[in-house]
């Protein structure tokens, strides 16, 4: 909605919005900048903003010392695995609810949503106990399952709202033209559903990557992803600002980039289609 305004007004808006935007972004910017400083420069008083000797030393130290690659690999496997597994379960479910709705579809959808409201801490011990019994504690497989289950309602909901936007008339027209079921799915439905599935995948990957209750409580050494890796920097290593910053930057950079692609889907996914 481009409203006509005076250039002066536009200039004021721009200045104000940029100032606020930079203020909100500042902690992230500061972390990224600090990651390129030496430890001494990182705690220099007064703080140095840009005029420091840029170094990559912190990154190599963090990589060497803390086995960063393994944590990263765990994050990728857990977030990726749970997303793919979730889609395998959710696509058929959302599909049938969107195209063959019954009287109970709405109740089922709302009930699925209600499982997302269950406070994690309320079921922490049972899950912990089950994990010990099943040998899943500190295993990637266990976390993939838990991540898949906690995000399944969101996946089903997002897919459902996307699928519902595919017009049924197109299917009927294809059938009239003599398309077989296989052709229908392959040439008509799949191309129309792929954008929705892709954005669901993206948002779910982000949510699983950042999840920090189950990952902190159900992992120790082997399956710990980046969330746990950063938490281990709490102290005393956390006081080495430059290294903390390098570790943090590496943990958030992939998701910041993915996140920027998923802004629009974020609203739909997190409000369960209530705000579009």
């Amino acid at each position: 909605m481009a409203r006509a305004v005076t250039p002066r007004r536009k200039l004021i808006n721009t200045g104000l919005a940029w100032a606020v935007g930079l203020l909100i972004f500042f902690p992230i910017l500061w972390t990224i900048l600090t990651s390129f400083k030496t430890e001494a420069q990182a705690i220099a008083s007064p703080p140095i903003f840009l005029g420091f000797d840029w170094t990559l030393e912190n990154y190599s130290v963090v990589m060497e010392r803390s086995n960063y690659a393994r944590f990263l690999w765990n994050s990728i496997l857990i977030a990726g695995g749970s997303t793919i597994l979730g889609l395998i379960v959710a696509v058929p479910a959302a599909w049938s609810m969107a195209f063959v709705p019954s009287r109970r579809t709405k109740d089922i959808l709302l009930w699925m949503l209600s499982t997302k409201m269950l406070p994690a801490v309320g079921v922490l011990y049972p899950i912990y106990l089950l994990f010990i019994q099943l040998g899943l504690l500190d295993s990637r497989a266990g976390l993939v399952i838990v991540m898949m289950l906690i995000n399944l309602p969101i996946i089903v909901w997002m897919l459902y709202t996307y699928f519902r936007e595919i017009p049924v008339e197109i299917l009927e027209a294809a059938r009239m033209d003599g398309a077989t079921l296989k052709e229908e799915v392959l040439y008509i439905l799949t191309p129309m559903a792929i954008p929705g599935i892709a954005s669901t995948m993206l948002l779910n990957f982000i949510l699983a990557w950042n999840e920090a209750f189950w990952t902190l409580n159900l992992t120790a050494v082997n399956a710990a992803p980046l969330t746990a890796f950063i938490a281990s920097y709490s102290s005393p290593e956390g006081l080495f600002f430059a290294k903390l910053s390098a570790a943090s930057t590496m943990a958030i950079a992939p998701i910041l980039i993915l996140g920027w692609f998923s802004q629009k889907q974020l609203v739909r996914g997190l409000t369960f289609g209530a705000v579009k």
């Binding site: 709405k106 499982t115 922490l124 969330t227 958030i252």
Partner: protein
């Protein structure tokens, strides 16, 4: 177009998701309920038998309970007020015509994508550290004594960290809602000479009311469960122990599963009260 065959196929396609979620909901829930009525101390003798409602009474009458309730309320309300008020202002600002709108949007949304442990640790050490944190430099620059944020003002500090994380969410949803506002209505009001404040109060705010409600409900559910931010910063010390953190401590740290489970049941009930309102709104939306 729904034939009998397609109906049963649909049911079959839904089955895995429904069964999985049913199991995920019922199994731990029943176990929590069961434990909550037992004296169960895994490290001190295991399951020591039936406890009746003892755990429920003890959880509520423990000296840690009311402070935890208070902390939870303060944190949830504090974050809600900050994020919703600033979110409205920011959404209106971002909706104005300007240069580089897309970039500003990205800057504002970014904190939402930072994992909770990172934002907690970055704030704790690089900003709130009383010796080397950026705030301490700033305070000294103005000649004031640096503040030990996470011990002297622990709860406000956590509110600040969590607000920073959730402000993007509120802003983004409110911005989406504002953008769906009919601009003709606003222009008509502008031509009729309605001042800014009136336009905001009588046109923008009513239009946003549903989005605001949704932001409040969704955030409440997530805020009642914040964990990593407390775990990493204060570990529940200095009066920052929320209800969920108290339950976590009872269950995993002091290994009193019966007591913690009773607390868990309280938390589940509390979350469900909020959830009912959210579901009503979402459910209504499904009918359209």
């Amino acid at each position: 177009m729904a034939t009998k065959a397609s109906r049963s196929a649909a049911r079959l396609m839904m089955a895995p998701a429904v069964i999985l979620l049913l199991g995920w909901m019922l199994v731990p829930l029943i176990m929590t309920l069961w434990f909550s009525f037992r004296t169960y101390l895994p490290l001190r003798g295991g399951d020591l038998g039936w406890a009746g409602f003892d755990n429920y009474v003890r959880f509520v009458s423990s000296s840690a309970f009311w402070p935890a309730v208070q902390t939870t309320l303060v944190i949830v309300l504090g974050v809600l007020i900050i994020t919703v008020c600033l979110g409205i202002v920011l959404a209106i600002l971002l909706d104005q015509p300007m240069w580089g709108q897309g970039v500003v949007r990205i800057l504002v949304i970014a904190p939402f994508f930072v994992m909770p442990t990172v934002s907690a640790l970055v704030w704790k050490n690089m900003f709130m550290d009383p010796v080397n944190g950026l705030f301490s430099h700033l305070w000294r620059f103005f000649g004031a004594d640096p503040v030990s944020w996470l011990s002297d003002a622990a709860t406000p500090s956590i509110i600040m960290i969590v607000s920073w994380q959730w402000l993007p969410f509120a802003t983004l949803i409110l911005l989406t809602a504002i953008q769906s506002l009919d601009s003709e209505q606003l222009e008509a009001a502008e031509m009729d000479g309605a001042p800014h404040l009136k336009r905001f109060w009588f046109i923008i705010l009513p239009h946003l009311s549903r989005a605001i409600t949704i932001v409040i409900l969704i955030q409440t559910i997530f805020l009642l469960a914040i964990f990593a931010e407390i775990f990493v910063t204060t570990g529940g010390a200095f009066g920052t122990r929320t209800l969920s953190y108290l339950i976590f401590q009872r269950v995993l740290e002091s290994q009193n599963v019966g007591l913690g489970s009773a607390g868990g049941v309280y938390a589940i009930i509390l979350a469900n009260i909020v959830a009912i309102f959210l579901m009503r709104i979402v459910g209504k939306n499904l009918d359209n």
